[in-house]
C-alpha cells in the first residue's frame, strides 16, 4: 500500500511542480478547496507555503461535521436523553458543542449510551444482537458516506430489524457549491473539487460551475503531487482566462462516478431542503428517507423536544465555511476556542479549517 502513496509524495516531483506554479503565476488569485481532506493535506505538508505569494488557498464547507447546524446538533443531544435509545456516531461529532456547550461526551458521562462507530454497518450488527435496545445511527457526511448509510438501511430492512434507526443529516455537494460560488463575498478564481465525493458522484455536477460561473475546476486526489498538480492546472487556466473542468484524479474518479453506490443511495434517499451552518437553508441539498423506508427514520418514531438553539455569539464559523474569512480573523480563535475547548464546529472536527489552522499554523 505504501508504495502507492509514496509515489505521490515524491519530494523532487513536488518541488518541480511548485516551481512551475510559481513561474506561471502572474497575478493574485484565490483557489478554494471544499474537502476537509484537502484542507488537512495542504496544511500538513505546507503546500500553501511553496506555491508563491500570488496564490491564496482558502477552505470552503468541506467538512460534514462543520456544516451540521446547531439545531441538528441539539436534536442529536435530545435523542441522547431518550431512555433505551443508543446513539451511534462517528467520532468527530462526539465533542461538537450544541446550545450552552452540551456535547455527546458530556451526555455519556451522565449515563447516556453513546457509542463511537466506524461504519453504519456496525450499528446494524448492534441492533441485531441487542434486541432489547433501540439504536440510532447519526448519519453525517456527503456523497462519500451516504451510500454506506443507505446500504445499512437496506440490510436492516432485509433483516426486518425494528430497533435500528438513522438520523439523516446527510448533505450533497452541488447545491452547496452553487450557493457559495454565486455568493460574491468569497470571490473564487478556481476550485479544487473534492476527490472522494467525485469518486461516488462523478464529475458532471461541476459542469455548471464551469459553464455558468466561468470558474475552472480540477478534481483532485489527496497526496501532495495531486494537490500541486491541480493548483498548477487551475493557475494556468486562470492565467489564460479559460474555464474548464479537468479530472486530475483519474486513478479514482470516473466521469459518471460509482453507479452502484449512486443507485443504492437513490433507492433509499430523496432530496430535501436542509440547513447548513454558515450557509443557511439550501434547497435540495439534504437527503431524507423515501416513504418505504420512513420507519427507519428516528424522528418518525421518537419525539424530540425542540429547544431554542443558540449559536455561540462571537463564533465566525459561518463566514469561514463560506470562505469569506480565515480562522485567525476570529476573536475566539486560539485564545478561547481550542481543540480541547471548541466553541465552533470548525475547531471540533479534526478536518475543520480552524482545527487545521490551530494544529498546523497559518
Amino acid at each position: 500500500m505504501l508504495k502507492f502513496i509514496d509515489e505521490y509524495r515524491d519530494k523532487g516531483l513536488c518541488m518541480d511542480i511548485a516551481e512551475k506554479i510559481r513561474a506561471i503565476s502572474k497575478r493574485k488569485i484565490k483557489i478554494m478547496e471544499v474537502c476537509g481532506g484537502h484542507t488537512m493535506a495542504i496544511r500538513k505538508n505546507g503546500i500553501h507555503k511553496i506555491i508563491g505569494e500570488n496564490i491564496k488557498l482558502i477552505s470552503g464547507p468541506g467538512c460534514p461535521v462543520c456544516v451540521t447546524s446547531i439545531e441538528d446538533i441539539d436534536s442529536i443531544l435530545a435523542l441522547s436523553r431518550i431512555k433505551g435509545l443508543v446513539i451511534c456516531t462517528f467520532g468527530d461529532i462526539f465533542n461538537v458543542p450544541g446550545t450552552k456547550g452540551a456535547t455527546l461526551a458530556k451526555q455519556r458521562a451522565q449515563g447516556a449510551d453513546v457509542r463511537i462507530v466506524y461504519s453504519a454497518k456496525d450499528v446494524v450488527e448492534f441492533a441485531g444482537s441487542e434486541r432489547d435496545k433501540n439504536f440510532v445511527f447519526i448519519s453525517i457526511g456527503f456523497e462519500t458516506t451516504a451510500p454506506t448509510a443507505a446500504a445499512a438501511i437496506l440490510q436492516a430492512a432485509e433483516e426486518d430489524l425494528n430497533n435500528f434507526y438513522i438520523l439523516s443529516l446527510n448533505k450533497t455537494m452541488p447545491q452547496a457549491l452553487k450557493a457559495i460560488l454565486e455568493d460574491n463575498r468569497a470571490d473564487i478564481d478556481g476550485l479544487i473539487c473534492p476527490g472522494h465525493v467525485s469518486t461516488i458522484a462523478g464529475i458532471d455536477m461541476y459542469n455548471f460551475i464551469v459553464d455558468k460561473l466561468r470558474i475552472p475546476c480540477s478534481v483532485t486526489g489527496f497526496e501532495p503531487t495531486d494537490i500541486l498538480t491541480s493548483i498548477y492546472i487551475l493557475t494556468e487556466l486562470v492565467e489564460k482566462n479559460q474555464a474548464k473542468l479537468v479530472n486530475a484524479y483519474k486513478r479514482a474518479v470516473r466521469k459518471h462516478g460509482n453507479e452502484k453506490a449512486l443507485s443504492i443511495m437513490d433507492r433509499v434517499f430523496k432530496a430535501s431542503d436542509t440547513q447548513w451552518r454558515g450557509l443557511g437553508n439550501i434547497p435540495g441539498s439534504g437527503l431524507l428517507l423515501k416513504d418505504e423506508y420512513l420507519r427507519f427514520d428516528v424522528l418518525h418514531t421518537f419525539k424530540v423536544d425542540k429547544v431554542a438553539s443558540i449559536p455561540e455569539n462571537e463564533c465566525i464559523c459561518g463566514d469561514i465555511l463560506r470562505g469569506a474569512k480565515i480562522p485567525s480573523e476570529c476573536r475566539l480563535f486560539r485564545n478561547i476556542c481550542t481543540p480541547s475547548n471548541p466553541r465552533g464546529a470548525c475547531m471540533v472536527s479534526s478536518e475543520g479549517s480552524c482545527a487545521a489552522a490551530y494544529r498546523y499554523g497559518d
Binding site: A18, N45, G46, K49, P64, V65, G361
Partner: protein, 334 residues
C-alpha cells in the same frame, strides 16, 4: 473455567489461596515471601527514585504484550529515564468479579517474566475484588523504587540550544496494535506493541556516553506530546525533521488508513533523549546495539527560534507547528 468471585477479596480462605497459589507462586522472592504488612528493604547509600503508575488497558491481552508486562515495564521505564536502576516493585490489583482465573494467571506469569528480565523484585502487593461492572476486568497499579546512579545529572534544565534529540526506535506501534484489536476497528495489522523494559539499554547508554541532558519515555500522546512537554518549560524551541522519524511500514499504513498521525500515537518502549551534539553518534551506536534500540534515530534539535514551540520540517521543506495532543486520536469520518 474458574472465575474470580467476591470471596477472593474477602480476606478469608479463598483470598489466602489466591495469594499463595497465584501471586506467591509466580512472583515470590525473599522479600515478598515474608508476607509482612510492609517489605523491609536493605539500606543503600544512593538517592532513591520512587514512582507509581496505574494500568487500565483495554484489551488487556494485546499484540506484543499484556497488562502484566505493561505494569512492570511502565514503572521500570519511569525509573530508568531518570537515571535510576530499578530495584523494587509494589503492586496493587483491582479485579472485577467474573475475571477468568486463567487470564489472571497468565497476567501474573507475564509480570514474573518481565520482572526477571528487568532485574526487579516484586516485594509487596495487594488485591481487591469489586462487584461486576464496578471495574473493567483488571486494573493494576505498580509503584517502583530505584537507585540513582552516580555521576548522572539529568533534567530539563540542562538542555541547551544546539542539543540533539534522539528517539530510541520506531514510533506508534503500541497505539496501533491496540487500536487494531478494539472491537469497533478490528483491522488486520502486523504492528506489535513496543512495550519493553528499557532499563538495561539506558544503563548501557548512560554508562558509556557523556553529554546526556534529559530522557523521557514518549507514552500517552506520543512523541509530539512529550516534545511539547520538553519545550514548554524552557526558553527554547524544538525542530523535528519529519523524514527522520522512524515509523514501521505497518504502523504507517494503519495511520494512513485511519487518518491518524503517528507522532501522536502512544508508545510503551520508546524514549526521547536530549543529548549534546558531540555525543550524538556515539549514543546512536550504543542504542542500535541493543534489541530495543536498533531503529534509534536522531530526529531533531533544540533551537533558539520559536521558543516554547515544537516545529516540524515536512518532507517538502516547509515547517509547521507540532502541537500537543488535544483529545483522543479518533479516526476521521471521510
Amino acid at each position: 473455567m474458574s472465575k474470580i468471585t467476591l470471596a477472593h477479596g474477602s480476606g478469608g480462605r479463598l483470598t489466602q489461596e489466591l495469594i499463595e497459589n497465584i501471586f506467591f507462586k509466580h512472583l515470590g522472592n525473599k522479600f515478598l515471601n515474608k508476607n509482612d504488612d510492609s517489605a523491609i528493604l536493605p539500606k543503600e547509600v544512593a538517592n532513591i527514585a520512587f514512582t507509581t503508575d496505574s494500568f487500565v488497558i483495554k484489551p488487556f491481552f494485546f499484540p506484543g504484550g499484556d497488562i502484566g508486562k505493561l505494569s512492570i515495564c511502565g514503572t521500570v521505564n519511569d525509573l530508568a529515564v531518570n537515571g535510576a536502576t530499578p530495584k523494587y516493585i509494589g503492586c496493587g490489583f483491582i479485579l472485577e468479579e467474573g475475571l477468568d482465573m486463567e487470564d489472571l494467571v497468565k497476567i501474573v506469569e507475564s509480570m514474573a517474566h518481565w520482572a526477571k528480565v528487568a532485574g526487579v523484585d516484586i516485594v509487596c502487593g495487594d488485591t481487591k475484588v469489586v462487584e461486576k461492572n464496578s471495574a473493567d476486568s483488571i486494573f493494576i497499579n505498580t509503584s517502583g523504587i530505584g537507585f540513582l546512579r552516580d555521576g548522572l545529572d539529568l533534567g530539563i534544565g540542562n538542555i541547551s540550544v544546539g542539543d540533539r534529540i534522539i528517539v530510541t526506535g520506531n514510533i506508534a506501534d503500541h497505539g496501533i496494535a491496540l487500536l487494531s484489536k478494539r472491537e469497533v476497528f478490528d483491522f488486520e495489522s502486523e504492528s506489535l506493541s513496543d512495550c519493553a523494559p528499557l532499563n538495561h539499554m539506558l544503563t548501557a547508554l548512560t554508562d558509556s556516553v557523556k553529554g546526556i541532558r534529559f530522557m523521557r519515555d514518549a507514552t500517552r500522546g506520543g512523541v509530539a506530546t512529550t516534545l511539547n512537554e520538553i519545550a514548554k518549560h524552557n526558553n527554547f524551541g524544538i525542530m523535528v525533521e519529519e523524514e527522520r522519524v522512524p515509523v514501521s511500514d505497518s504502523a504507517r499504513s494503519a495511520c494512513e488508513l485511519l487518518g491518524l498521525d503517528p507522532m501522536y500515537i502512544a508508545n510503551e518502549g520508546k524514549v526521547l533523549i536530549v543529548i549534546d551534539k558531540k555525543s550524538e553518534a556515539r549514543a546512536l551506536a550504543v542504542l542500535r546495539n541493543n534489541e530495543y534500540g536498533k531503529n534509534a534515530a536522531s530526529i531533531g534539535e533544540i533551537t533558539q527560534d520559536n521558543p516554547n514551540m515544537v516545529c516540524l520540517r515536512t518532507p517538502l521543506g516547509t515547517t509547521r507547528i507540532l502541537g500537543m495532543l488535544t483529545s483522543d486520536p479518533i479516526p476521521r469520518i471521510c
